[in-house]
Subunit: 247 residues, 2 copies
């Protein structure tokens, strides 16, 4: 486990009461919920305790301080929600086009289940930029069996592959790979971070907005490919794609 405070205790006992497991999970679920919607500064330990339905002392008992509780949640969120997405764009075995398709779908699936996470994460990263590198490096698997010696060097990246595609004449030669990646991320993220604004502007119900998000999953792929691909190549891809969808 990842928090030092009650690790000591665990080593001693080696088996835990089922309640401890249960409570620790209750605390984490509650903390995640509150942190996601209020942010670190706006969250209160008492609010988290109430949400978990347990005594405030338990929070400190399991996680020592607000900061440590937050760190645990944030790292866990990063590892389970963000790192797998980042990995898609660094997967040399996956073609760029498949990277885009996989990324958009997985991004939307993940965030529809955690709708407040994107804003939360971007807000906390903005306040503490140092965390970004720290967590990103921690997320890279160190096991040498899984990856080549220097995965971060030898991997063909999203951006490298795009440059290749340009040379092959499949992709528009006036696009900048970095800028494209930023556009795609922006298209993915904004419907979540700006949900209240968009939903108000379009006067949508919650159900309608959820439908909208579901559609965005494929829409972002099309938008990205329209930007990326030469028109003939795009049409070609779209036909193939629609065939597959029908199956």
């Amino acid at each position: 486990m990842n928090h030092a405070y009650n690790t000591l205790r665990r080593i001693k006992k080696s088996n835990m009461s089922p309640q401890e497991h249960n409570n620790e999970k209750k605390v984490k679920d509650a903390a995640r919920k509150v942190f996601h919607s209020e942010g670190f500064a706006g969250s209160r330990m008492q609010t988290i305790a109430d949400e978990a339905g347990i005594n405030k002392m338990m929070l400190h008992y399991y996680f020592r301080s607000k900061q440590q509780l937050f760190d645990v949640i944030f790292e866990e969120d990063y590892m389970t929600l963000m790192a797998p997405l980042a990995k898609i764009l660094r997967n040399p075995a996956l073609h760029v086009e498949d990277q885009v398709i996989t990324f958009s779908r997985r991004y939307h699936d993940t965030m529809m289940r955690n709708p407040k996470f994107p804003l939360f994460m971007i807000h906390e990263f903005a306040k503490n930029p140092g965390r970004i590198l720290e967590l990103a490096q921690k997320a890279i698997p160190v096991s040498k069996a899984d990856e080549p010696d220097h995965p971060e060097l030898s991997a063909t990246t999203f951006m490298d592959q795009i440059d290749e595609g340009i040379k092959e004449g499949k992709y528009n030669d006036d696009i900048d790979a970095q800028s494209l990646a930023v556009s795609m991320l922006g298209m993915c993220m904004y419907p979540f971070t700006g949900r209240t604004v968009v939903q108000t502007a379009y006067q949508m119900t919650d159900e309608q907005y959820d439908d909208f998000l579901e559609k965005r999953k494929e829409e972002v792929i099309r938008h990205t490919f329209r930007i990326l691909m030469k028109p003939e190549y795009y049409q070609n891809w779209k036909q193939e794609y629609q065939k597959k969808q029908k199956q």
Copy 2:
């Protein structure tokens, strides 16, 4: 002026000491800076006072409470920074394509001068969705001389115009106007809200990132048009556009 507290005082005196003007501005500038980077919950009145270089009492003297000070700043920001941008997309006299061009340029110009504003605004709107409609309505000019009786009804919107363009065969017929607008906003906003993440990932210096933002101004236009326009029409536009740029 827009805050009730010292309006009373002003009616009585009718002329203010130059210091009041000066201090009130100092307070607002400081409050804006602190609120933008810490958010409402993370901001401290003492921090704002220190930033302004004046006594904490002055904040309450001029603005009564933290909440009122915040409300003043937030409304002022919305009116000066957001409302003009929203207006561009509701301007029936402006063609969609010009709306996109004008919007992207103005958005980037505005936010490069207020880099923390987009995240701040989206964060506070997320916490208080009620504000969105309230401010949006307040921003619509009520003067009947300026606008027709029901501007919000008679105006040809961004989205209406796109539907027209589709019928005319200029624009791709598989695009959804709402989704396009969301994509454009996302492409504009993300480089600001996610600055720390992108800058870290791309290992850019502050200067390099500012250059990147400058380039995004036109890049977002191209990306949006690639999504929107049929290829022949896009090529046509681009040629005209490049001619104009050279002049």
